[in-house]
């Protein structure tokens, strides 16, 4: 039997989401993927810890495919990954997605309502689509999906 050498996880690095409502959507979308849609295979990377120079987080990001989920075009998550661990496998810019979806409503940063959660769900499904593609392409070993 061949030894499985492919990564078992997908790393998801969310923007910290302090400045803009899109950041809150990013955090909640990542939580939904971890808790609801693809638990087991999804591991969130802690961006402040990552930036504080934690070698564990940075090394982990080098060994697994990383999806950067950014709230806005500042792309803190993507640019940070690129700086410390190399290219991201995929990147999501929520503000760009909202534009694409025609969302023009004023969003709340601190009190997610039905709309913000609905948007987080939609973003989560985008992340799931990417994770499923990795599994399909054999980029990750899907031995720990639940």
């Amino acid at each position: 039997m061949a030894l499985e050498t492919r990564p078992k996880f997908v790393g998801v690095l969310s923007c910290s989401g302090e400045e803009e409502p899109e950041g809150t959507i990013a955090r909640n979308a990542v939580r939904l993927v971890m808790e609801k849609y693809r638990p087991g295979i999804t591991v969130s990377l802690c961006l402040p810890l990552y930036l504080a120079g934690d070698s564990g987080e940075q090394e982990f990001a080098k060994r697994v495919p990383v999806i950067a989920v950014d709230g806005c075009e500042k792309a803190c998550a993507r640019l940070s990954t690129e700086k410390y661990s190399g290219e991201v496998s995929d990147a999501i810019d929520i503000r760009a997605l909202l534009r694409q979806w025609g969302v023009e409503d004023e969003l709340s940063r601190s009190h997610p309502r039905e709309l913000e959660w609905e948007l987080a769900e939609r973003v989560a499904r985008e992340i799931v689509r990417i994770i499923d593609r990795y599994i399909e392409e054999g980029k990750v070993a899907a031995t720990n999906t639940r």
Binding site: S16, E18, E19, S44, P48, K74, A75, C76
Partner: protein, 290 residues
């Protein structure tokens, strides 16, 4: 409750790993509703100047999620004075609560933490003073040329350029530094400007701050030597100014020059840069399109 936390600046850990990190963020958001200013630890790490105004006027409360203390480390690394410090994991422990391993905030935990929240101390954060000179108000006339589908502007006089496409606008012993129209068009939308420290001594061709666009990251290579006496706060807040007005309002730093006559030997005046740029763009187009 509005205004209760006015004058406070909150730097939370914002972790998305365990419950403690998400609680730190939730606490920070509550304090923001009461008037406190929030500092995003990630954005602050990447672009400290973004929060210079807030950190220069308010008392800083740091909220760490766990023992790693990322927010405290960040504050220390950046030389901030911490007026108060909280650690969510330790606070929960004192309450006999063990924080969750998942990044899901428990509302009961949050309300107990908020109830226990004490006021920070009295020390004030320090911020460097910006000293813009009041010079550089004269109208700037531009030369323009077109190459392929691109349209470039270069000032007619008063500016000196290096081959890195950075300029120095010189008046007396002062110079303002920035990047050319060519840079902004090549780099596309600017999203970050990180200035150097005020007081930094620059040699000619030293980095005088850094820029990030949606396409690339680059340093501003100083055409002149001297001491940084001011940075452009408007550019810190709105790096896109470079795309809108690269030669005038998008100056990056102001320098008290040390040896302009010496530095000038390695620089191009406006006319020379215009010729240099035309040739450079022509060659690039030739390589790209044949």
């Amino acid at each position: 409750m509005k205004g209760k936390s006015r004058g406070k600046v909150i730097l939370p850990c914002n972790g998305l790993d365990k419950e403690a990190g998400t609680l730190a963020r939730e606490m920070a958001l509550k304090l923001a509703e009461e008037g406190a200013e929030l500092v995003c630890p990630v954005l602050f790490q990447r672009n400290p100047a973004r929060y210079k105004k807030e950190l220069g006027t308010g008392e800083l409360l740091v909220i760490d999620g766990c023992k790693t203390g990322c927010a405290s480390k960040l504050a220390k690394d950046k030389g901030l004075k911490i007026a108060g410090r909280l650690n969510v994991t330790e606070m929960l422990k004192e309450m006999g609560i063990r924080g969750g391993k998942k990044p899901v905030p428990d509302p009961e935990h949050l309300s107990r933490l908020l109830a226990a929240l004490g006021g920070p101390g009295e020390e004030e954060a320090e911020g460097a003073e910006e000293v813009p000179s009041g010079l550089f108000t004269a109208h700037v006339e531009m030369n323009e040329f077109m190459e392929g589908k691109f349209f470039f502007k270069v000032p007619k006089a008063g500016y000196f350029f290096n081959e890195n496409d950075c300029w120095a606008r010189v008046e007396g012993t002062r110079a303002r530094l920035g990047v050319s129209d060519y840079v902004q068009q090549s780099a596309s939308d600017m999203v970050f400007f990180e200035p150097p420290e005020i007081g930094k001594e620059l040699e000619q061709f030293d980095d005088a701050g850094s820029l990030e666009s949606t396409k690339t990251a680059l340093d501003i290579i100083s055409p002149v030597s001297g001491k940084v006496v001011a940075v452009n706060g408007e550019l810190v807040d709105a790096p896109e100014l470079i795309n809108q007005d690269p030669y005038i309002s998008a100056w990056a730093v102001e320098v008290e020059m040390a040896d302009f006559e010496g530095d000038r030997e390695l620089l191009m005046d406006c006319e020379a840069y215009l010729a240099y740029l035309k040739e450079k763009v022509r060659k690039e187009n030739q390589e790209r399109f044949g």
